[in-house]
């Protein structure tokens, strides 16, 4: 009997270890999500939708920038088609996050559906190069990191919704936290990678499309142009080989 008891102990210990490693890994996202989530909760409350709505959106949509955009859709009483198209435009990048996780999430079993559902910008940037505490616990670890992140996001949006009504100072400008988040990710990616051609492609193509198409219609053209340029860059590289 002894070996089996030992085995159980090791297994539960490592479970807890995985949980604490995942918690530690998720810490950088904690404050960011609580700030961003709070900003979202406040804006949603200002638009006339209280805590239940904030909670529901953070549970079921769980996509930061989409939820910010969603406030104006809901408040403006947007139509079904507009809502679908806007969601596709704002969230199209998730297709690419998923594409780059296809190989990594292979064999994640029961953890996989939630990990795919919860693949946000930040979770993606935490997990894309993370090997986890050990190979056999990797997927459990990824699952926990994803879950911790969603908890912060939900907590933040609920806090924001509740605080929004009573905050003694102006919250104007809180929405910059989203911009700051992406600038920080961009800087981090720039510093950690040697090849900047993709980052530069993204920047140049998007600015170009913004100038040509204007601020309301440039997202889809930008994405198409970026994909085209990156495809051409790959073709050129293949030729060199």
């Amino acid at each position: 009997m002894k070996p089996s008891i030992n085995w159980i102990m090791i297994s539960t210990m490592s479970n807890r270890q995985v949980l604490s490693k995942a918690f530690y890994r998720s810490l950088p996202v904690m404050a960011g999500y609580i700030v961003l989530g709070t900003g979202f909760g406040i804006l949603l409350r200002n638009a006339g939708y209280g805590v239940v709505w904030a909670f529901a959106m953070s549970c079921f949509i769980f996509a930061g920038s989409m939820q910010y955009v969603g406030i104006s859709l809901i408040a403006g009483g947007a139509g079904m088609i507009t809502t679908i198209l806007t969601t596709i435009m704002v969230n199209a990048r998730h297709i690419f996050y998923s594409i780059s996780m296809i190989d990594k999430y292979k064999g994640a079993g029961k953890y996989k559906p939630y990990m795919i559902f919860a693949l946000t910008d930040e979770t993606y940037s935490l997990l894309v190069d993370d090997k986890g505490p050990s190979e056999e616990t990797l997927n459990k670890y990824r699952f926990f990191v994803s879950m911790f992140n969603q908890c912060y996001w939900i907590i933040g949006s609920v806090i924001g919704s509740l605080l929004g009504a009573v905050l003694p100072f102006s919250t104007a400008g809180i929405e910059f936290s989203m911009t700051a988040l992406f600038i920080a990710s961009f800087t981090e990616q720039w510093l950690t990678s040697k090849d900047h051609s993709s980052a530069v492609t993204g920047l140049v193509c998007t600015v170009l499309c913004l100038i040509v198409c204007g601020p309301d219609n440039f997202l889809i053209p930008s994405m198409l142009l970026i994909t085209l340029v990156l495809t051409l860059l790959r073709a050129r590289e293949e030729k060199k080989k």
Binding site: M57, I61, T83, D121, V207
Partner: protein, 103 residues
């Protein structure tokens, strides 16, 4: 009621975007898709930065100066400490203070 429907539509569309690549390419990933998966994230983050700043008017006062200063502070802080939380908090606080002072 309409709000609940719109939220459900947003949730389902977002899920579809996240799940479809796994459903379509999950069995065998073509080399081209793997390549896109590798290089796209950096370009997309760049796109998101521009997207967030799309409504800033550099021609009218305050000429995007709060965005430039706060955004620069985020990048500098990130390059210095490599701590996204600190960078975000610093940049957002700076931005809110500047808006308060100007407004």
């Amino acid at each position: 009621m309409t709000a609940a429907i719109l939220i459900a539509v947003m949730a389902l569309t977002t899920m579809a975007l996240r799940f479809l690549p796994f459903l379509i390419f999950g069995k065998k990933t073509p080399a081209y898709i793997s390549y896109l998966g590798r290089v796209l994230p950096q370009a997309i983050i760049a796109l998101l930065v521009v997207y967030c700043l799309k409504d800033v008017s550099f021609a009218d006062a305050p000429h995007g100066i709060p965005e430039i200063i706060a955004g620069g502070a985020v990048a500098a802080m990130q390059a210095w400490k490599r701590n996204p939380v600190m960078s975000i908090l610093l940049g957002t606080a700076l931005y809110m203070i500047m808006l308060h002072v100007i407004g």
